[in-house]
């Protein structure tokens, strides 16, 4: 299922088109870093006219360039393709910046570190049943933080749509291996009934995609540990954007900020986490 291509294949394409070094701007979501082989694996967006979106291992000339990378980072780089080589240069990790109103200092909250155990919590889903994190142990969890009356299509709607794309892509593993969570940051308004209607938009199966709400202090506590900050402002809620992945052992595998990654890149990361068996 994983859309992987070897650098060697890439070179074949390059060889057909030109012998001179070609440079392509690429944005990739880092899945894995391998300093020993001076390589990182990334889910890359398509390069129009050159290659489709795909997961690929990418060498660098200087292993030091990998120091700034970590799994889940969104990185811009130049892919240099020569006659007999291909490598990345000018690696720049992208810091998510939104020019929209967004809660300040979200990144200054006491965030859970990648690899840290995620504290247990219990919230209520769209069917009115309690969902406890500990009960989902052994499954990979993907969670975003939204509210149903969010007016901006590129914020909550996009994050929910990303999860809907995961639901489709991983249909055969959903519920068994993978569970999706959408935590509402507007618990006063987003009752289980409201969430059930919202879930219907995405044709979410309540057994494998839980839309969660609960008492505000509890919701806040859950959100804050992942850097999600929110408050009412100008008749709406203002909030930061996060999508997190928890591995089978209940540890935080990724915390994506913003909305700049694609559903495919998120899916590639999920697939990598699903593949971690031990």
């Amino acid at each position: 299922m994983m859309r992987t291509i070897a650098v060697a294949m890439l070179l074949c394409v390059a060889a057909e088109t030109t012998w001179a070094a070609q440079r392509y701007p690429v944005t990739g979501l880092v899945l894995k870093i391998d300093p020993t082989h001076r390589t990182f694996v990334a889910s890359c967006k398509a390069i129009p006219g050159y290659m489709d979106a795909m997961v690929m291992p990418i060498p660098v000339r200087d292993a030091k360039a990998l120091d700034a990378l970590k799994p889940s980072a969104l990185v811009d780089f130049t892919l240099v393709v020569t006659e007999d080589d291909a490598y990345a240069e000018n690696l720049q990790v992208r810091q998510y910046q939104s020019m929209e109103v967004e809660p300040l200092q979200a990144r200054r909250l006491q965030l859970l570190a990648l690899g840290a155990a995620v504290p247990d919590f219990t919230l209520v889903d769209q069917t009115g049943h309690n969902v406890r994190l500990a009960q989902l142990a052994g499954k990979v969890l993907v969670s975003s933080f939204i509210y149903t009356s969010c007016p901006l299509p590129n914020y909550c709607f996009r994050l929910s749509n990303n999860l809907a794309r995961l639901q489709k892509r991983f249909a055969d593993r959903l519920g068994r291996d993978l569970v999706l969570l959408s935590v509402s940051i507007d618990p006063a308004h987003d009752t289980p009934e409201v969430l059930a209607r919202y879930a219907a938009t995405w044709r979410a199966d309540a057994k494998s995609w839980h839309f969660l709400t609960g008492p505000e202090p509890q919701v806040k506590a859950v959100c804050r540990s992942f850097g999600v900050n929110f408050w009412p402002d100008e008749g709406a809620l203002t909030h930061s954007l996060h999508t997190i992945i928890i591995d089978r052992h209940g540890k935080l595998a990724a915390n994506f900020e913003g909305n700049e990654f694609t559903a495919e890149q998120l899916g590639d990361f999920v697939e990598a986490v699903l593949g971690q068996r031990e």
């Binding site: 810091q95 200092q105 009356s149 009412p232 402002d233 100008e234 203002t238």
Partner: protein
Amino acid sequence: MHVARGQLHAYKGEMTRAIAQYEIAYHIASADDARVLPSLEEALGILNLHAAEMENDVYRNPGDKCIFPISPAMRYKETAHAEKAVQHFLKILAGQPDNTEAKWLLNIAEMTMGAYPSGVPPRYLLPPSLFVSTESIGRFTDAAPAAGLNLFAMASGVVVDDFDNDGLLDVMTSSYDTCGPMRYFHNNGDGTFADRSAEAGLSGQLGGLNLIQADYNNDGCLDVLVLRGAWESLGQRKSLLRNNCDGTFTDVTKESGLAVPATNTQAAVWADINNDGLLDLFVVNETGPSQLFLNKGNGTFQDISHSAGIDRTAFSKGVTAADYDGDGYVDFYVNNMGANNFLYHNNHDGTFSEVAEQAGVPGVGRGFSTWFFDFDNDGWPDLFVTSYYPSIDESIRTYQLLPHNAGTLKLYKNLGDGTFRDVTRETGLDKVFMPMGGNFGDLDNDGYPDIYMGTGNPSYSALLPNVMLHNKEGASFVDVTASSGTGELHKGHGVAMADFDNDGDLDILTSIGGAVPGDSHAFRLFENPGNGNDWIVLRLVGVKANRSAIGARIKVTVKNEGRAARAVYSTVGGQGSFGGSPLRQHIGLGKSAQIQQIEIRWPGNPVPQVFSNAGKNQFIEIKEFATEYTKLDYRPYRLGGSSRRSEP
């Protein structure tokens, strides 16, 4: 479809047509989709309020009609749209009684009809007591129309300085409107200005949200750099405009080496990083790395951004320069949006180290304009850092004295050991104002720099007063917006403080206007009513140092009657990053002052230049190494000319 059409009409300022489209959308939504009604209700309220302003000529001939709080005497003649706006805001509040933005706009709409506070339902009233100034430094009046400064534009940058060396302060502006030309107003010396944009060769220079001035080629005439591309997705070319010393300017961007790459910038600063007497240029960008250009002394610049270690990328909105640690080399501070700020310490070898975290000046992650100034006159440049959080709710919480969710302004006091202490709260600056342009200057000549900030955001709903803050002897800042009459409700961008009429006090020129043609507005020239305090103005001329004297530090030791001697500090070129005050330094001295000593520390020169016989309330020129200063015969005049009535 109707909303999209309505937005296009609103963009152009065709409010009646915009309202008609939104009303159709509202009608359709009433039947089909009630969820969008609150947002349409809000839009209709705002559009009607904007229409009310336009039909009462508030944008072109504002007078006191948009000075907050709006006096009942200024109520609109045409009130139909304002009444409709009130109805829409009331409907929003019926469903959302805690919606602060709707409350605020309701109160404003009632003010425009002279019905505030009595006409506002008590549960929605923001009482007048919230906005009263507890003190006053006098009421300023707008002298722009009388002076012939007929600038009507979208958001703009301003520079006030003497471009033709006749001792009179001229005005140059550039506009966010990519089709809007630069304007150049020559000071006639009689309280009026003449538009010489075309004669100066500037009419073809389009766009540019900000501009900065300096004599980069040391020929004695001030040159200008126009900064473009701010808030845009594609980079735009900067323009370096060389002053030909004959009233004209030539675009020398390409030959100077500044043309490529095109970037998105609205902030840059001139500073001599290696004390070679040549002004270098540091440009910060929104989407690409910052750029440091070394002045080669032959009209060209060399890009040393990378080797200097100063080419970090952030969404940078402000930059300021000062030798914050007193080691004789200028340092830089960058105010970023969405990232921590940068304090670049000059390593004296053409490289810089980023030390914001260690120095304790991280900012709040939502920065706009910024500046170094010595707010407490201890001889060390402190840092003022704006936080631009575009929310009416958060701004109104400032007046309601409620705690903030968003980050506040920041004031970092320089401790003199390379670090700073956050004194925001103790100086009363823990406030949210939505500031964009801004500047500082001693408006009441008490020896302590005050603050004026232009506020707002692109939305038509962002009707918030500009803000004046009086510095109380370096201990705290007090809001004197209402008493000063400078609380212009529309969007304030470039701000310059300058003594336009040579009467010994600083006036304020500010661009007012938003990001779309329908939000264009007349500039304001707020004339200072004066005060009983003394002052002195110093024009510095570098010889070994750069001719503009940028970076020269002035210390005036002054004795006020009945008080111990004290020092007042000022640095040439020290100003807000969005608004160009003159390079000549206006220094307030307080009441019954006696100047004991003037000391100049020139960049690159460890030996101070000292004068001990200067009189007060005069303009003087000090040339580097000279043993005598020159008195400048600048005569006061009345803005608007002698025919202007005493009160407009």
